[in-house]
Symmetry: C2
Subunit: 608 residues, 2 copies
């Protein structure tokens, strides 16, 4: 169901009802762009990633928000879902309101256009929004304006905040004098004519209207009231009416009430987020870090400088979230899921060993078909994200005896995945933990190298050739992080190539200390350097909220063998790809897709 | 006539023809935003203004360009006009091409939306463009790619630049091995089947396609050819065909020609600007500084840091321009034109003492009606800008004996206005001179004041209260330029309030020196401090190109009295407004519209 400025107000109670009755909610956002500024790479810590995304992507705008609610009907053993697709745009309420500047990325708009995204709907009918601080500031300004106008002996009604009541008096410039005199004469005649009740003045500029207000205020002390109106063709003109002081006060009173109502309306879409927060329901998203950041930034509060503050903010607005990209890239799912982009994931989860969930739309207007490909419409993406979540949740149940008919959103089986956000590209830190410390894997095999701008991938490979294959994450034109595939060799690097004329090498640890990046040498997901499975981490305790160093890959009921595989898998893709892609002596910066050298392998990110 | 990506190529020859046959061209642009960063103010020099606009507005995008050509038919004594309305968008050609990030301003998009601007047309069908440097760089990259692929023993055809020919070999990851083996088996069967000529492989991801290309390259040395195709639903798949080496070479050859053609197409809209440059025709715009800067920035060259370089660039791309906003704000027009915004100007110029020009559209598809209000569609705005130009040009003719039937675009009467851009807000420097030095008026009555952030307009007024009324141009929260209305008092300021605890005052001259702003004390348009008419500047010599210190307000044929009035007018509006607006003791930053204090008077800029 498309929700725009036009039907938002009338639909809002239904949306609130849908949220409150739901078992869980799925969300998705569409943005005007994705990447800007510093590139993400596979050795980012979650904190570094946060800062990169904050700097680079929050200048883009979330213009479409999908919300799909899922309610389980026990009798019918099926979910009822309601999909809402919101178009969002920060039309400034008035001149006191901030006039948002936002960034667009040509390729992203082109991408959306190819998905038939309706930009006109965004800019023509987008629902406005205010975060609480903006709302407060506008509320203060409005209160002050009302107070000031109260203190004026005469008040005039102008819908565009042009009332001169709280501005200094103005003298009519020579070139406008005859025009204004003419208007005043018209008003005079009108006031004398007992039959006429209103007089429409000719269309004129904002400045001329300003002068008319001012002149009328001086000339006609009592008994009239001016009101600026807008014609269909956007021309603006003043209508003069006869009005007693009583009537004028009443009009002013109504105008004030309308002002407050208008401000309330301007909070707009932020109210949806507030309702989601209030509900405390589980919110599911796919690869949802960016969605979450945009939602917080636009509707809650500008993203904090401090990473821990961000975590608190995120947890406060979304007390319980679950990322299906993290689930699907973790075992017991991963072994059965070769592709985790949302489109493919949805298809894969319809087939064995998974099962298509039993879902029905509440009504025609809420419906999407998984057959008709509406991928990348936020409402549809939210819907299929919910489908994926249900399939995966239910799959966790298949390890139980007896197998339950469904796994509800509050099941302890899901706890290992709750409040963790998938971190793209980073293999040894798969998630950002919103309710505890992030994982800190051993990176003794990683080195920071700086070199002349002329260096290419091959120069770095050459430098490290004595230590076997390497994985390169470019930071910029003159530096990179280099990871050894054969970690046993780590101890030799500084001794043998630590000193060079044209380059400089640091251990990752030293690099982190110099750049004050949080980093530590002891890892939770400690892995032996020969690539064998890591030391097992303890099973997570069966409590509602996971925190700290839990391993997300360990749903408590997964059998032992499964667990082994999954441990094996967790750190595997990078080294596997590395080992294979380097067989022919070529190192490819696969995950990073850096275009330095010939390393850009993927044309379509597999990560939506 | 709307021109988009869909009809650009077929229409281009007609556009070129229209340009070449025209007497003059009128242009207009629509942008995704207008203001950002440092505020313009009324004491900006043209150079300062250039830098402010360059920093602040060139991050926005020109998304619609209007071109209207005007050709005079002597026999019929009328102009024939052709209006083109281009939708423009920098869809990246490929991954080598730059992926433009641009800024949008919410109020500007909202404004365009209210004018029924079709954003979908921009993002779906916008004509791409490349500036010459970008074109060269892509051309080099393409050449290199072709060279590399020539050196490969086997070539495959892939439309999305995924050809592995110039990338290192890749090993198939474990999880894809069975999929690839299956594909290879299919291809093998296909090759054996003499009846089949082509084989469509299943839809798969970019990465899988990459693997298929790679595997096929290794496995099937000769006789096959792979081609990635895109289904209507955007799914991509590989089609395998049997092909001899001859056929493959032919296909490769065609592919290369297509690559070059594609690059040529990608230059897109820039070709229109190149044709305009080539034609050397007079280009008319209304308040065209921003249009010009955007056009240069997007289609010619990123705007230079150096102001003089900008002037050269502008003059090089547009050898002959004329700004109707400058004309209409200058006498002999000004006395008859109370409002110079394009909409009002058009109406005013249809009535006496001006006359509606005799114009006809070349064909239905080029037509606009001035009755149907399509203001702010670039094609329409270009059209009415042309109308205004003709009316004003012809009006200049009315001072001649006998009155000519029309004043052509190359008439010497127009020379005073040629190659000068209107500078908004600045009263004592009405234009930027693209072919010579800018005006440098005396600003001895102007002072730079810095103060605590808590200061408001009233504090500054208070500080200067001994010197009469002042004009305030806010620079930021803690500094402003202050102009005395009674310039006689200028000498007293530093002596009496030059030292203060909470503030710091500098003369404008000192301020310019400290900020290294170009500035000088002798003025071309020197005015006596009591506000009487300035010393007359010499009449401009009657030569084709005006340069240096010409006064734009002196069309050579204007009678003496007219000239006086116009001199009087040139510096008048500011002081007049000031004098009047300060009668009641309130200083209003009228021209600037600064919102510090209560000074924001206009809701709609009168400057479009």
């Amino acid at each position: 169901m498309n929700i725009t400025r036009k039907n938002f107000k009338e639909t809002f109670p239904l949306i609130v009802e849908s949220i409150n009755e739901a078992d869980f909610l799925a969300i998705d956002g569409e943005f005007t762009g994705l990447t800007n500024g510093r590139k993400s790479h596979s050795f980012d810590t979650p904190e570094e990633r946060y800062h990169k995304l904050k700097e680079g992507t929050c200048d883009f705008l979330l213009v479409q928000f999908g919300l799909c609610t899922f309610t389980y009907k026990h009798e019918e053993k099926k979910y009822i879902s309601k999909a809402y697709n919101f178009y969002i745009f920060p039309t400034p309420l008035n001149r006191q309101a901030s006039d948002v500047r936002f960034l667009c990325q040509a390729s992203s708009l082109d991408f959306l256009a190819r998905q038939s995204f309706d930009f006109n709907k965004v800019f023509y009918e987008g629902i406005p929004y205010l975060n609480p601080a903006e709302e407060q500031s506008l509320s203060d300004a409005l209160q002050e304006r009302h107070n000031q106008s109260m203190n004026n002996e005469l008040t005039y009604v102008s819908p565009s905040y042009e009332s001169p009541a709280f501005k200094g008096p103005l003298v009519i410039p020579e070139e406008h004098k005859s025009f204004i005199a003419d208007i005043c004469k018209k008003i005079e005649t009108f006031l004398k004519d007992e039959q006429e009740t209103s007089l429409q003045l000719p269309v004129c500029t904002a400045y001329q209207r300003k002068l008319i207000y001012e002149a009328a205020r001086k000339r006609f002390k009592m008994g009239i009231q001016l009101d600026t109106q807008t014609a269909e063709n956007r021309d603006r003109f003043i209508v003069v009416k006869k009005a007693s002081e009583e009537e004028k006060k009443l009009v002013e009173q109504k105008k004030r009430e309308a002002d407050w109502e208008e401000l309330k309306d301007a909070v707009g879409f932020s109210n949806v987020i507030r309702e989601i927060t209030r509900s405390g329901k589980l919110v599911v998203g796919h690869n949802m870090m960016l969605d979450l950041m945009h939602v917080l930034h636009q509707f809650a509060s500008p993203l904090p400088e401090d990473y821990e503050e961000f975590k608190s903010l995120a947890h406060c607005v979304f007390p319980r979230i679950c990322d299906t990209k993290l689930m699907s890239s973790t075992n017991p799912f991963k072994v059965n899921i070769p592709m985790t982009d949302l489109g493919n994931l949805t298809k894969i989860l319809e087939r064995a060993p998974f099962a298509k969930p039993n879902i029905e739309f509440a009504a025609e207007e809420h419906s999407y078909s998984t057959v008709a490909n509406q991928l990348h419409e936020a409402g549809y993406d939210a819907y299929i994200t919910g489908l994926c979540f249900i399939s995966m949740a239910n799959f966790l149940g298949t390890f139980q005896v007896p197998i339950p008919s469904r796994i509800p959103a509050n099941s302890p089986l899901l706890e290992p995945f709750v409040n963790k956000l998938y971190v793209m590209m980073v293999v040894d830190i798969p998630y950002m933990n919103l309710v505890g410390a992030d994982l800190k894997p051993n990176r003794d095999h990683v080195f920071h190298v700086s070199f002349p701008a002329s260096w290419r991938t091959s120069d770095i490979v050459q430098l490290f050739s004595a230590f076997g294959h390497v994985y390169i994450a470019w930071i910029n034109d003159t530096s990179a992080l280099v990871g050894l595939n054969y970690k046993d060799n780590a101890g030799l690097v500084m001794k043998t190539i630590g000193e060079g004329e044209s380059y400089k090498i640091q251990t990752y640890k030293d690099y982190c200390q110099t750049t004050q990046v949080i980093c530590q040498t002891t890892a939770v997901l400690k892995r032996k350097v020969d690539g064998s499975p890591p030391v097992k981490s303890p099973r997570p305790p069966k409590k509602r909220k996971s925190s700290g160093i839990l391993n997300p890959d360990l749903p408590p009921t997964i059998p032992e063998e499964q667990e082994e595989t999954e441990h094996e898998d967790l750190g595997e893709p990078l080294t596997k790809k590395l080992r294979e892609s380097t067989t022919d002596g070529v190192v490819a910066d696969i995950a990073n897709g850096s275009s330095k050298g010939d390393c850009q392998l993927f044309s379509v990110p597999d990560t939506w």
